[in-house]
Symmetry: C2
DNA sequence: CCCCCTCTATTAGCGCAACTGATTCATGGG
DNA sequence: CCCATGAATCAGTTGCGCTAATAGAGGGGG
């Protein structure tokens, strides 16, 4: 019996839905349906009563669900316990990151990690977001940091931060005086410095603006946040950037940020940053430790909201949150 | 992760041997080796230190072993709990048995089962032993009773009884006066009534006799014990039969049994009876109940030794005991 | 001391099990 | 009544785990 199948069953039950349970495990709805059916066949017992709508757990199903949950939890605890026992010294963390993750923050993390685990090495490489999943699947990197990640068959996505996006403009700009949030429509026609086409954040940003009927005049495109900020400082136009990456410029008063918000109750535009790593094979102890450090650390330093960490045992390594942002509109 | 792999690992550890651990799970030694290696890969930790001979568990291995054991146990308990909750009424037990299982005993079991589970049906079919595994794999029968069973990929063998074989002869025969066990060599040249060629018990019997250099004159061959007994009663010769099946004839004094034993410490010749059923897919509640009845009942009625039931969690459904009897000499 | 014998690792190849994508089916809501 | 939604089913493909054969590594006996 696959432990994965047990986990799928648990997720199906928790979500009261085969599709969502499947999504939480990064498999197709079909796979989830088949997995549960096979469980029922092997057990020789009906776990789910499909005659009523919505379906319900049978008594056997309830019993099995509770047991399953405990077994799956126990196994994952066991895995962690085995790993914690390992000595991270001598191992290398090969980190692949997008350019614009917030260089300062990242180097702070790395410094703290190096201090905590003296024997470990960290290799950071910055690259185009599209390269990161490939590199991880090819085992050229252990862990990646990128935005709008989508989980895959052998790629685990752990939601990390929710960067709220804000309008950035020079102090002289008319927006700079605003004390209240700007509505997207107010941006119409403005000169706009933005991300390169081909970056996921650009795609999402365009989608967001189009959804609100905003038409901007793109005057420059860059592949790093640093370049965009520079252009805005030089007066090329305004930009929409993660607020947390603008901290220093705001302090130096070379840039001003204005919150971007809709009034219709729609969530503000956020850029979900994720930690990704390969699935199945376990990571070396140093990598595990590094990821633990990233996740456990509050977002206090950056001001970003930590991405909702799924409750114990629920949606373990789901990453569905990030995926649903990218989902069809 | 396959729960089966965890169980293989546990068995390997318990037996301190990859080969025996593999055997206990009815897989090849190679499969066990690969399973453990894959576990180590996935965990990213060494579980077994192969540098010393004999190999030893690493500290991580010990930790993982304990956890594994508990998880596997827990899962099987869970499976059983789910099944116990099911109502056996309305289900049918399709039992396939060899002719010579001891008809009286079997019907007693069936009667008791029918009394215990009024709603269930039992269909007994007697057939040639070679047919039984096939029928079970084709899902034409649920459970089989046969001798010298060998487990297979999708056939579980549960050791059941150890029938000790004894010499049977008419009261007038010279052996009938014996008060001590007969050594095999003393049988030399005797007229012999035995099982049909093609029956496993015949094969094993011949092997046993050849090993002890005994040459008998086969005067008749039958496919059921009842016929053999009849022939012996008629004075055709002697036979070697399960002692427990001779009870009635001995009481009626139509036959005499004499223990058959070697002096060299070799175990007496026994015929292992096994309960077989399909692997993987779970059996219906009535079948489960029936098997439980067969196993839990002491061998008091028959005088056969119950086959050593493996201790809790050890060699679950192994059937290795029976297999090793059939093993290469 | 050498050889053999046992036990585990490794490799190649095969078969099945599980996944995906497409489609059908069932049901409840607008 | 028809459409939207969610689960089941089906066909096709891939990849995993198995077996069988073989290599390699110790340990024990002659």
């Amino acid at each position: 019996m696959h432990l994965e199948a047990l986990n799928i069953f648990c997720d199906v039950v928790r979500h009261q839905s085969f599709s969502r349970g499947a999504l939480a495990n990064s498999v197709s709805q079909s796979a989830a349906s088949q997995a549960v059916r096979q469980l029922e066949r092997r057990l020789g017992a009906q776990l789910i009563d499909r005659s009523r709508r919505p379906w319900q757990l049978t008594p056997e199903g309830k019993l099995f669900f509770q047991g399953c949950q405990e077994i799956v939890d126990r196994y994952h605890e066991l895995e962690e316990a085995v790993q914690r026992r390992q000595d991270p010294s001598g191992y290398t963390v090969r980190l692949a990151s997008i350019y614009s993750v917030g260089l300062h923050d990242l180097s702070q993390y790395v410094d703290r990690f190096r201090a905590a685990v003296p024997g470990a090495h960290v290799d950071i490489e910055y690259m185009h977001p599209d390269e990161i999943p490939t590199r991880i699947q090819n085992d050229q990197s252990d862990v990646g940091l990128l935005a709008f990640a989508t989980p895959g068959r052998d790629l685990t996505v752990v939601p990390w931060r929710q960067q709220t996006m804000a309008v950035a403009c020079p102090p002289a700009h008319r927006f700079a005086q605003r004390t209240t949030a700007i509505g997207p429509w107010e941006l119409n026609g403005a000169a706009f410095v933005t991300f390169d086409r081909g970056l996921p954040v650009r795609r999402e940003l365009d989608r967001y603006l189009r959804r609100h009927g905003v038409d901007l005049e793109v005057v420059a495109e860059f592949d790093t946040i640093e370049n965009i900020k520079q252009a805005v400082e030089d007066g090329a136009g305004i930009a929409i950037l993660p607020e947390s990456t603008l901290r220093r410029e705001v302090e130096r008063q070379t840039l001003v940020t204005v919150a971007l918000d809709t009034l219709d109750g729609e969530a503000a535009f956020v850029r979900p940053l994720s930690i990704v790593h390969r699935r199945r094979r376990r990571l070396n102890p140093a990598v595990t430790q590094f990821i633990r450090l990233l996740r456990l650390d509050g977002a206090g330093q950056t001001g970003d909201a930590p991405a909702g960490r799924p409750a114990k045992a629920e949606d373990r390594y789901a990453g569905a949150g990030a995926a649903s942002v990218t989902g069809t509109p």
